[in-house]
Amino acid sequence: MKRLVVEDIEKCVGCGLCMFACSRKFAKRPEIGNSSSAILPVSLSGFERGATVIFCRACEEPPCAQVCPSGALKPKKGGGVVYVESLCLGCHYCVEACTLNAIFVREDGKIAVCIHCGYCADYCPHGVIAYKEVEA
């Protein structure tokens, strides 16, 4: 199955194009800005020290889904989660549960989580992230 992966974190220049791309991912409802973005490049206290790109790593037993009280987050076959927005209460238990801090809070209080669609990878100008086949 295909997954979003980090190829070479040392190449990250902190441009944030992946973050803005994530907001545009739905063809019928692309957004401008970072509200619905589920990927976040951050520096190690200054990009001169390097970067981290934070996004869901598609856990086999996702703790976020385990703590979701409303069934909005469900484990996906092969890892990761399916997010049913209409069921989300905005309780943010999942935000607390994620060890990677990879669940983000949107402007409206609901959440944003990576669905491994790979849309952002096409906009990484420096080959930091890629969308490719991995073994389940």
Partner: protein, 578 residues
């Protein structure tokens, strides 16, 4: 269009939000809107360091919709020139202000005690800044605030170092460590308001009017940004690529412009820095180019074998000119140490270099003595310049107190105006290319080389008449008003043509034709000229340091007669316009 203006009052620690579709629909954003907000909020007679001065940060309508629309315009009354202060910076400021929901932020009044401000979506927090006040190193200030404030990865953090607190008239505001509102003394305006930093974060979203078209136009602009040659120069060597060509053209001001060719230019060139020092490249938010070049400087600790510190230092052409060739510094490590020292205090590198170059020549000529300068300033001697930069911050003598007010002021007090390289009170940038550059420095609204790119015109066209030169400069500066209202990076001007801009607006639900965009640029130019005149600008008060006419440029020795003719013609054009 994003039309919210956040108005923060430091006198009373209050804030309000105004929605101003009138302003943004007519003037787009950035420079266009900032000029109007200055008009509305500032008394033109205000003392730049009094609470009456106003700071405007304005972003544009293409942020954060498209890549390369990554800049913010700061506007204020300049404590360096006493006239219009405008400075642009990248980093994350533009996308963060947009993410918090604002088109512009206005800061008025002055705090009684040191504060820093946090803007988070609809709220403004006035944070106690007393503990941070007095920390001279802007890098440390940044790190302390970074530890205390959330928003990692999406926030912007604009702050001043010690130079701003001490009201050095050419102190800057640093954002995201390596980008600057560099010119004209915004740092001192922050300092006068007891404002140590401004942090902005948010998570707002905007919806395009035409979803399908938006993604198409985005992809088109993105492809141009990464594939076209238009951005390659900035991508590879960065602006430092200019060192060797300008030196070969005999246009690189050296040793206070006694000459315009530096025999050690190769050692401090973009090529040499890339080969020996380049450690990393980074980008402004939403820009794929990554033109910010960071040099890794490895310095041994004295008396401690095998113990090193490695500092990352951002370099650009202008810093190499002002702290390199202008001071006769041809060793890369020396140059980088000077850049780092200037960065630490939050000084404008260009003004600092020009001030020190003048001081060195003034000492050589006996206009000032070592009692004034405290160190024996000598071209090429890095240790004396490192100390002198400390003194510009510390101001231990009258001489440094005057030098901290700019080279024009210092020359007014001590003499040596003929080699004090400033125009309209602003220290000169690094291009001794010819008439267009000089006229650009004199007539540009900010006296900045980026106003009308005279340095570029000098390299492209020869044998222009004084009138043609002025016409071309006004035309260029007018178009740049549109670009700086959008606000796209000037480095991306080859991509954002009137046609592309017009097309980019369509899916956002706003219609403006290429011709209307050009016309708007001319209108903003006029509005800005009016504001500048209201603030006291007069062509009669401009003077040109004699040195400019003595040292041959790319166009040979320049004639005063040509410049005077051109200025007369500019006066006529300006009158017509106003």
């Amino acid at each position: 269009m994003r039309d919210a203006v956040l108005i923060i009052d430091l006198d009373n620690y209050t804030y309000e939000v105004e929605h101003r579709p009138d302003l943004f629909e007519k003037w787009l954003g950035g420079t266009g809107v900032a000029v109007q907000l200055m008009r509305e909020h500032m008394n033109p007679k205000a003392d730049p360091l009094s609470p009456e001065n106003v700071i405007v940060f304005a972003t544009g309508p293409l942020t954060p919709a498209y890549p390369l629309a990554s800049k913010t315009v700061a506007m204020f009354k300049s404590p360096l020139t006493g006239n219009l202060g405008e400075s642009h910076a990248g980093g994350r400021t533009a996308t963060s202000i947009a993410a918090a929901g604002y088109g512009a932020i206005v800061i008025k009044g002055a705090s009684k005690k040191p504060v820093y401000l946090v803007v988070e979506n609809d709220k403004v927090y006035f944070r106690d800044g007393r503990v941070l006040w007095g920390i001279p190193d802007s890098l440390i200030v940044g790190r302390i605030i970074a530890e205390n404030e959330p928003g990692r990865g999406t926030r912007t953090m604009m702050r001043i170092g010690g130079a701003g607190e001490k009201l050095v008239r050419y102190s800057c505001v640093t954002t995201e460590t390596y980008r600057h509102y560099g010119r004209l003394g915004l740092g001192a305006v922050f300092g006068s308001k007891k404002l140590k930093a401004l942090i902005v974060r948010g998570r707002k979203k905007y919806l395009p009017a035409d979803a399908k078209k938006y993604r198409e136009v985005y992809d088109e602009i993105y492809r141009m940004a990464i594939e076209s040659d238009a951005m390659k120069k900035y991508h590879l060597l960065g602006t430092a690529a200019n060192v060797i060509p300008l030196n070969e053209l005999k246009a690189l001001p050296t040793r206070n412009l006694k000459v315009a060719r530096f025999e050690r230019a190769e050692e401090i060139s973009g090529e040499a820095l890339a080969e020996y020092n380049l450690g990393r490249r980074i980008a402004c938010s939403h820009c794929p180019v990554a033109c910010i070049h960071l040099a890794a400087l490895r310095l041994p600790y004295e008396n401690e074998p095998y113990f090193f510190r490695t500092i990352m230092i951002s370099y650009d052409y202008e810093l190499i000119y002002s702290l390199g060739s202008m001071l006769g510094i041809g060793n890369r490590d020396d140059l980088l140490r000077l850049i780092h020292r200037v960065e630490t205090y939050g000084l404008d590198a260009m003004s600092t270099g020009v001030c020190l170059a003048w001081a060195t020549e003034a000492l050589e000529r006996g206009i000032v003595s070592e009692k004034d300068t405290l160190v024996k300033l000598a071209f090429g001697d890095v240790e004396c310049y490192l100390k002198a930069i400390d003194f510009i911050y510390e101001q231990p003598t009258d001489f440094y107190r005057h030098l901290a007010m700019g080279v024009s002021h210092a020359a007014e007090v001590y003499g040596g105006k003929e080699f004090a390289l400033a125009f309209g009170g602003n220290e000169m940038p690094g291009y001794h290319t010819g008439y267009a550059a000089v006229l650009n420095y004199l007539t540009g609204m900010r006296h900045s080389h980026l106003d009308s790119a005279g340095y570029s015109l000098d390299q492209k066209a020869k044998d222009l008449s004084p009138e043609e030169t002025i016409d071309r400069l006004i035309e260029e500066e007018s178009w740049r008003q549109t670009l700086s209202s959008l606000v796209v990076c000037f480095f991306a001007r080859g991509i954002y043509t009137p046609e592309v801009i017009s097309k980019a607006f369509e899916p956002l639900g706003y219609s403006i034709s290429p011709d209307e965009l050009k016309k708007l640029g001319r209108e903003i130019y006029r509005e800005k000229a009016r504001l500048k005149v209201d603030l006291g600008f007069s062509l009669d008060e401009l003077s040109i340091p004699k040195r400019i006419f003595e040292t041959p440029s790319l166009h040979g020795k320049l004639s005063e007669n040509f410049v005077n003719k051109a200025l007369e013609y500019y006066r006529k054009k300006l009158m017509e316009m106003l």
